[in-house]
Symmetry: C2
Subunit: 260 residues, 2 copies
């Protein structure tokens, strides 16, 4: 197929793509986010996200495949980019020459269900942690993520670390975490992990009516406001050096206990 | 203090440092590994690793602090490096101007104890995964790691991802994983996780006499040889999309179940 060729990285479309890559503000204002790599881009299309623009190197187009077919069909606009331009767009070590700008979801109202399993993120900052938490949440069957502040769900590094789970899982943003926890608490058990050995062990909690776990900020843990709003404080009893348990590992243990 | 100043990155000492950073072979042949950052370097010294060479920028030396005191005392040779040279040595995004070459441990014989908790790594390749597994192993009180192939314990990215846990935990290398598992199996329960829903759930296994969990390669899982050598195959039952559970997350769940 013949698409318009972009061979200058000063092209407006490329400048826009790179702005979306670098700036959360640019993403919010445009309602678009950037994605790189055939698999992630195809995941977004398969999850129903509108693909506004697809940028492809000739090599990537020649390689073809089922995922590419899906993307070519889904994309509103398609450009061929030279490999020099693709290198300027790339945010990964071995770029595949496939890039998209994708339209964000319109926010749906969140609904909590009896027996549901939820993860509430209290200012989780690190994109790798957000990605690892989302990926494991999807694997273990968590029903939705609710994010308060921290790294945004459209952060390119978080999306990549999640292997697309952030596109497939229902993700909601909240501006009032205490209110969100009170709403959740009417239907499921809300809890947060604290480094307090006198708290109940997470192994002993009954999660049968459903649960919402709060994962705290990497440096500060969960806020005082959260501790006031949850129904239950739990602890992860450890035999080793507790300082070493990072936010993602703690989150994985909490999610495992509440979903198993 | 006055140390010899290195201001050319063609200096032999700097070339040697960078070779250790890039090449496992160079590390093996010299018996040295490189470390970057005040905390990691001080961790190595505190764990009893001999510090062969310490490279410091003037800014880092002026900053001082307890950890630096420890390092200055421990180091056999100290050089001041210009900030331009430090930039060439750095493997991190925000370098602190502190670098060491550290002598590897001499291999001690491994001993298994009743009630001990061990993690056996079957060709785990990804340095981030090795780091995350070691970090969580230390947090949960795992007694030792036994590594067969894969990413080596002195890989700079793995060391950094482990936040120093790879320096503090006992780590042993094995060239015969089946033999290692048979030895472990005389004293503790040896097991591997498989994606087979008919296997016993990891939640139902009795780990009281101690246990050794095998963590498989990211792409291939555990080898047939391992499956023949372990006493028990377990599964991690999931309600979600099992494909999304990565090696580190699975390892965290197995370690949690066997240590809690």
């Amino acid at each position: 197929m013949n698409h318009t060729l972009i061979s200058a990285y000063t092209n407006e479309k490329i400048k826009e793509y790179r702005k979306l890559l670098a700036s959360r503000k640019a993403r919010r204002e445009s309602g678009l986010f950037p994605l790189e790599g055939l698999r992630l881009c195809a995941d977004a299309a398969a999850s129903g996200f509108p693909i506004e623009t697809l940028f492809l190197t000739e090599a990537a187009e020649e390689k073809g495949g089922e995922r590419l077919e899906l993307l070519l069909k889904a994309a509103r606009r398609i450009y061929t980019v030279s490999s020099a331009v693709a290198e300027k767009m790339a945010d990964t070590v071995s770029p595949q020459g496939v890039f998209c700008t994708v339209r964000m979801e319109t926010e749906k109202p969140f609904e909590v269900h009896t027996g549901g399993r939820y993860v509430v993120l209290d200012r989780v900052q690190n994109p790798q942690n957000l990605g690892a938490i989302a990926r494991t949440a999807e694997a273990l069957g968590v029903d939705a993520l609710l994010a308060f502040g921290g790294c945004d769900r459209y952060n390119p590094k978080a999306l990549r670390a999640s292997m697309g789970s952030l596109l497939r899982l229902p993700v909601f943003e909240t501006e009032d975490i205490a209110e969100t926890l009170r709403t959740l608490g009417k239907t499921v058990l809300t809890f947060a992990a604290v480094p307090d050995v006198s708290a109940q062990s997470v192994s002993d909690v009954n999660f049968l009516r459903g649960a919402a776990a709060v994962i705290g900020n990497e440096g500060e843990g969960v806020s005082e406001e959260v501790l006031q709003a949850v129904q239950c404080r739990v602890t992860i009893p450890m035999r080793g050096n507790a300082e070493s348990l990072n936010a993602a590992a703690a989150a994985i243990i909490l999610m495992w206990e509440m979903t198993k």
